[in-house]
Point group: C2
Chain length 419, copies 2
């Protein structure tokens, strides 16, 4: 069966979706029997150069070419904005077409109205891509946690600011330099206000608070602090005890019927699972009665991750079956050896000198393969040398080991771990 | 509508499920219209004391009391073992009853046969609880990644060994002491072989490799190394460069049609998202074409998390609708201030002495509230004092701040971050 998609928007996410559909279509067809194809795409400029665009896709600037087309089964809105997009979605839902959107601004501000409309029309309105692009947080909260009681959520849902703060803390970049780098890499827009002032994170927090706690809230009701006031001194100061500054949203149930919601730079201590969430990555921590602390980590934005969230939603909307979906496409997988692997070698020796000299002799050999090394005294007053190899083949690893053990100066024992 | 459950097993997970059903039943009823109730439970000893057990639940030692009861809509298998359990599940599937199981040994060894039977009968066979108890990895892989191409998975799926290795590395416990402690806490069984030899992790890896790559494999085909040979010296050695030893499974696609699968202690470097997975927690890292690296983190076992996975599966099996599930139960949430919050205070001062003396004066006040402090020079040759408070109310925080700023000796600027 062919499912015809009407696509509003053919920018970063829209063209990402076309790429993914092309790559995944055979697999999807094999596992679901469904053939997804974009029939019509709405853009604002017909004359724009769109290299590689499938000529079978009809471009239009008239939304009615999608909304009034009875052949179109499903609508994807990745144009953005809270104006026209709202009308398109309402119209599509009213004519019983499932809608998938990545539009966080719209879902944050008008989500309740749209969700009610979708429920009344009994068609899905899915928006996985609107919060933390590549992390399936919405679906997971809806399906997995509906048998649990969530007490709080917190996390990093803005990739731009997390990238900037990571660069400032780890590489000593100034705020301005970090912002410029984020813009060059395509993480930040020319006007970065939405990100650095915390509004983007706040929109996502509003969406999550509605989904999890049924809380309706608006930007101006919330305590929102951006990252603009953070100084290099602040960053250095929190480092003193191993902390890091990150722009966090927090949603906490603080009473029977009340929820505290904030967005602000917060100190993340080293034992937090959020402490390893660097650069453009996102993560959301959930605290619930049954599970305690759980965390979902992944890319927060970008063409592929966001389009993946949209495509997963498209499949959800089209195939709500009870069948176990298979994830794979080939039926013929067999067990094999790993291709390449990094290793950690631990060399125990009676004396520090014997190891050092052995490694010295092998320097030529090892130079190309060893990325880091260190040594210290072990528990028997002997010495341990720790070497980390690059990713190498099993054959290369065996050869290196053989050469090393043949050196007569080396009176040692080996321990090897993959790495 | 009432859904009657037949429960095989009333041990840790089975009684956990009864607790969760009692707690969540109203919410589930409100959101789905379904009333789940356990009609019959199979145990091995009828005479065992089962405090608090709902007398309405019929206990039996005869599986046919469940399998031949036409009133039973759905079967949950949490008895364990690969013998009788397999027969019960086959019989239930054949009579078109959905089956939920937590039985990793059985799904690893006989999963393919059971899945085929379920697909033929067109009833769900769900086993979320079998891999990493409280982490919804199976459902997420089935739903979210079926539009992506996964290249590798790796992770920590055995809570017992991760607990032991964490204790050995962080608290200097010996292997024996760490094992004893794990047993006392209920993480490890009297005979811990299955965990420490890596078999439990291998079963879970076998299940994941089948789901994601369609690979059929057995324990004896795999390279499995446990944690029994790890010495204190090894643990100290990998620490030299910030590494940690953890028992990892890895599944890598290494060629068009081949998969490398292993379980062994591996070195986790500090920049890995797995480096913050401590004690009994589990985490699974997925690498895929569309998303790059994603991670799912949470509790690996225990009554509540495992029962939560079972209950979520029960709902999935009973309600495969296209509707957006709401996660909350109350409709009346309102915005509020946070209850308590920890803070990081950064005090900038011209001289180190002025801050030290101010804090000294306030010692009595602060003593109860400050948990950690440190200081260093800032970029203007002044000094920064960094204090971390306990979790305190906003009112208490305001009072403390006021008192501190009133001290005349303190010529400084404050920066405050939540923490
Ligand atoms: N980019 C990300 O990483 C990301 C992540 C998560 C969510 N999102 C959300 O996804 C949505 C799309 O983002 P994007 O980055 O793909 O935006 P984009 O690159 O700016 O693309 C927008 C597309 O929509 C079209 N469009 C916009 N307004 C229109 C109008 N009024 N009438 C007709 N066509 C219109 C544009 O037409 P032209 O091609 O003719 O200009 C363009 O094709 C936004 O809601 C955004 O918040 C994006
Ligand atoms: N515990 C966890 O954290 C966890 C986590 C993930 C998965 N799992 C899996 O969940 C399953 C159950 O684990 P558990 O910890 O709950 O086990 P458990 O505490 O040992 O309970 C087993 C239950 O099954 C009953 N039973 C066992 N064999 C039986 C037989 N042949 N006939 C009748 N009744 C039988 C026992 O009856 P009696 O009450 O009369 O002894 C008991 O009620 C296992 O497959 C396990 O691998 C457990």
């Amino acid at each position: 069966m062919t499912i015809k998609i009407g696509l509003f928007g053919l920018g970063t996410v829209g063209s990402g979706l076309l790429t993914l559909l092309a790559e995944q279509n055979n697999k999807i067809k094999a596992s679901t029997g469904l053939d997804f194809t974009v029939k019509t795409a709405l853009v604002s400029t017909l004359t724009k150069d769109r290299p590689g665009l499938d000529p079978a896709i009809q471009l239009t600037t008239d939304p009615n070419d999608i909304l009034n087309d009875p052949e179109i089964d499903l609508v994807v809105e990745v144009a953005g904005g809270t104006g026209s997009a709202k009308g398109w979605i309402k119209s599509a839902l009213s004519s019983k077409k499932p809608v998938i959107t990545a539009n966080k601004d719209l879902i944050a501000t008008a989500g309740q109205e749209l969700i009610e409309l979708a429920n009344k029309a009994q068609v899905p309105l899915l928006y996985e891509a609107a919060v933390a692009g590549g992390i399936p947080i919405i679906t997971t909260l809806q399906n997995y946690y509906r048998t649990d009681t969530i007490r709080s959520l917190a996390g990093i849902v803005n990739g731009t600011t997390n990238y900037m703060l990571t660069q400032m803390a780890q590489n000593g970049l100034s705020y301005e330099k970090a912002l410029k780098q984020a813009q060059e890499l395509g993480f930040a827009e020319a006007d970065p206000t939405n990100d650095v002032a915390g509004y983007d994170a706040a929109y996502k927090a509003i969406i999550l608070a509605r989904l999890v706690f049924g809380l309706e809230s608006t930007l101006d009701e919330l305590a929102i602090t951006g990252i603009q006031e953070i100084t290099d001194d602040d960053i250095a100061a929190v480092k003193v005890l191993g902390g890091q500054l990150k722009l966090l949203f927090t949603i906490n149930q603080v009473g029977e019927d009340s929820i505290a919601l904030s967005v602000s730079p917060q100190v993340i201590l080293p034992d937090s699972p959020l402490s390893q969430v660097h650069n453009e990555n996102n993560a959301i921590v959930v605290n619930s009665d049954n599970l305690g602390q759980t965390m979902y980590y992944g890319p927060g934005a970008g063409a592929r991750p966001t389009a993946q969230a949209v495509l997963a939603d498209i499949l959800l909307a089209a195939t709500a079956t009870k069948e176990s979906h298979q994830v794979f496409s080939s039926e013929n997988m067999r067990l094999a050896e790993p291709n390449v692997q990094a290793y950690c070698w631990i060399l125990n020796s009676k004396t520090h000198e014997s190891i050092e000299s052995a490694v010295h002799e092998l320097d030529d050999e090892l130079n190309g393969y060893i990325v880091r090394q260190g040594s210290h005294e072990n528990s028997n007053n002997g010495s341990q040398l720790v070497l980390y190899t690059k990713e190498i083949t099993t054959a290369n690893h065996d050869r290196l080991l053989k050469e090393l053990t043949q050196k007569r100066t080396l009176n040692k024992e080996f321990v090897i771990y993959p790495c």
